[in-house]
């Protein structure tokens, strides 16, 4: 288990964070750029020295200001995947991968070259030089290299940010596979909600050097008051669900969740597989009467449990449909429909709005 409690004065803000990460879980450190995410993970790795506090990993003290403990980077056993791959240009891919591999007599080798090569699909790259690789390939090598150093903790600092948008979707499944395969705690720094939802079990929301919220991805994402941090445009509900049925004729997958059944076009899986869907608030609309003859496939009964009104023409309402679901409507609609807390209504989610990108296939079951 990793336990972090640090303070660090930076140019524009003071970082002051405290959180814990459990073994075998992925924690997304989420926030806007400049919020202090990178400083946090650099402190954990030992690349930056905090002003105050303590960092422990599996009961080993990595840093303690009062005890004047500050373990050097190379003795922390923490794998780090940087924003840019940082591969050694004078070595082949294979030599890069093996760089951090400890001598077998020193430590039990859990993660082998064969394993990493297979997991990250690197066999055709082994003899090549980093300069000849694409951005995505480089980052895969960099992830493999970090894993082979047999780390007790893996830190990933926006590993996809230097990769073209259309290639990111290619890398995410690889990261997900290694997370499922290698049972070490992972901290994944990102400002992309999609990546967080896709990969993470827990989320630490960080803003201006402070932690605003931490908890399961579902719990954090469903908070109405966190929009300023998560970004209004992308905000919405995260629904955990199991695969129920695939309608071959229309190519639609059905996911069962406590509020009913969510239909997702183009999704196929095994029955009982765990999925996590991101339903954006702006793709949810409401109706007081049961709508007839509409194209919407996903229709749920619900009751308003919270309304968030600010100066904008839009309002967010939290509806209990078995789980809390966030809908964004105009202030005008709110007033015309006379919606208040407790109002019963029908909630509609446009199926085509739930694209495959916003669906995470969770391999280890969610608790």
């Amino acid at each position: 288990m990793l336990s972090v409690e640090i303070k660090k004065a930076l140019e524009t803000l003071t970082l002051d964070v405290k959180f814990e990460v459990n073994a075998g879980t992925v924690t997304a450190l989420f926030g806007k750029s400049g919020a202090g995410k990178t400083t946090t993970v650099h402190s954990i790795a030992g690349l930056i020295k905090p002003d105050d506090g303590e960092i422990t990993l599996n009961n080993k003290v990595l840093f303690n200001h009062h005890l004047r403990t500050n373990l050097p980077v190379y003795r922390r056993k923490i794998g780090f995947v940087f924003q840019s791959a940082r591969l050694f240009p004078h070595m082949t891919v294979k030599k890069n991968l093996l760089f951090g591999l400890p001598r077998p007599n020193k430590i039990h080798i859990k993660i082998t070259l064969d394993m990493v090569t297979k997991l990250l699909d690197l066999s055709s790259l082994l003899d090549r030089r980093p300069q000849t690789l694409s951005g995505g390939e480089r980052q895969r090598v960099s992830i493999g290299r970090a894993l082979l150093s047999q780390p007790d903790l893996l830190l990933m600092d926006e590993p996809l940010s230097s990769i073209d948008l259309h290639l990111r979707a290619e890398i995410l499944p690889f990261i997900q596979k290694i997370v499922a395969e290698v049972q070490i705690p992972v901290i994944y720094v990102t400002h992309s909600i999609e990546e967080a939802i896709y990969l993470a079990d827990n989320m630490v929301l960080i803003s201006e050097g402070q932690i605003l919220q931490e908890g399961s991805v579902e719990a954090v994402m469903n908070r109405l008051d966190l929009y300023p941090v998560t970004g209004r445009y992308d905000s919405g509900t995260v629904i955990s669900a199991q695969f129920l049925n695939y309608d071959k004729g229309f190519d639609i997958g059905e996911l069962k969740f406590p509020g009913g059944i969510l239909k997702v076009p183009g999704l196929n899986g095994k029955i009982g597989d765990n999925f996590r869907a991101h339903v954006k608030a702006r793709d949810v609309s409401v109706s007081l009467k049961k709508p007839k003859d509409v194209s919407i496939l996903n229709l749920f009964n619900g009751k308003i449990i919270d309304i968030r009104i600010d100066n904008s023409p839009q309002v967010d309402i939290l509806i209990d449909i078995g789980i809390p679901l966030i809908a964004r409507i105009t202030r005008k609609s709110l007033s015309e429909l006379q919606l208040t807390k407790g109002t019963k209504l029908f909630t509609m989610v446009k199926a085509v709005a739930i694209d495959k990108k916003s669906i995470g296939h969770i391999q280890n079951s969610i608790t």
Binding site: A45, G46, L47, P72, V73, Y74, R75, R76, K77, I78, G79, F80, F82, S84, R86, F88, P89, H90, F99, G100, P102, Q131, R145, A146, S149
Partner: protein, 229 residues
Amino acid sequence: MEFFSPVEYEIFLLSLRVAFWGVICSLPFAILVALLLARYSFPGKFILNTIVHMPLVVPPVVIGYLLLLIFGNNGVLGRWLFEVFQISIAFTWKGAALAASVMAFPLMVRAIRLSLDLLDIELEEAAATLGAGPFKKFISVTLPLILPGIIVGTLLGFARSLGEFGATITFVSNIPGETQTLPLAMFKYIQTPGGDFQALRLMTLSVILAVGALIISELVERKLKARNL
């Protein structure tokens, strides 16, 4: 050796030996000083930097005289070296090598420091996160990546050593077969009536050596760049 007369051959070999040992002995110190100047801040850094660059700006005869004061047979270190180890540097080829190495030192430090400044420190950070301690990090990441700078610095220093004159003649005089390197021999022949032809021959040799060193340096640099990019 049909081309060289025995005397020329002796001058040629002595020059190579002096330059070779001069450069080899100062290389580790040049790397160390370049690392200190490029990576660390410490009290006295400005003074160290000034001392290192002294041979570039001070007249060589001053350096030669300083060496004589320090390493001469009555000098501070020179006497100690002779009493303890029976080593005498002044007026020997070793002294010539010392003079050459002092004069070449700033050129080597500058070339190595430049490549250290250009080296991405992020790669060293990555090496550290992979468990590489300071020694492994330096040997397997820093050193290979600054190798072009080290080679260029070494060849520049070598060429500078071959041409060293002022400090050498002041410190170890102009002794045929012992301290008479190419430039010193040329100087002697120019001063000798009727020595013009001999001086010209030595001049040609000198130019060929220097240009050769530059060409090798260029080729090595290109090859290393092609490998790393």
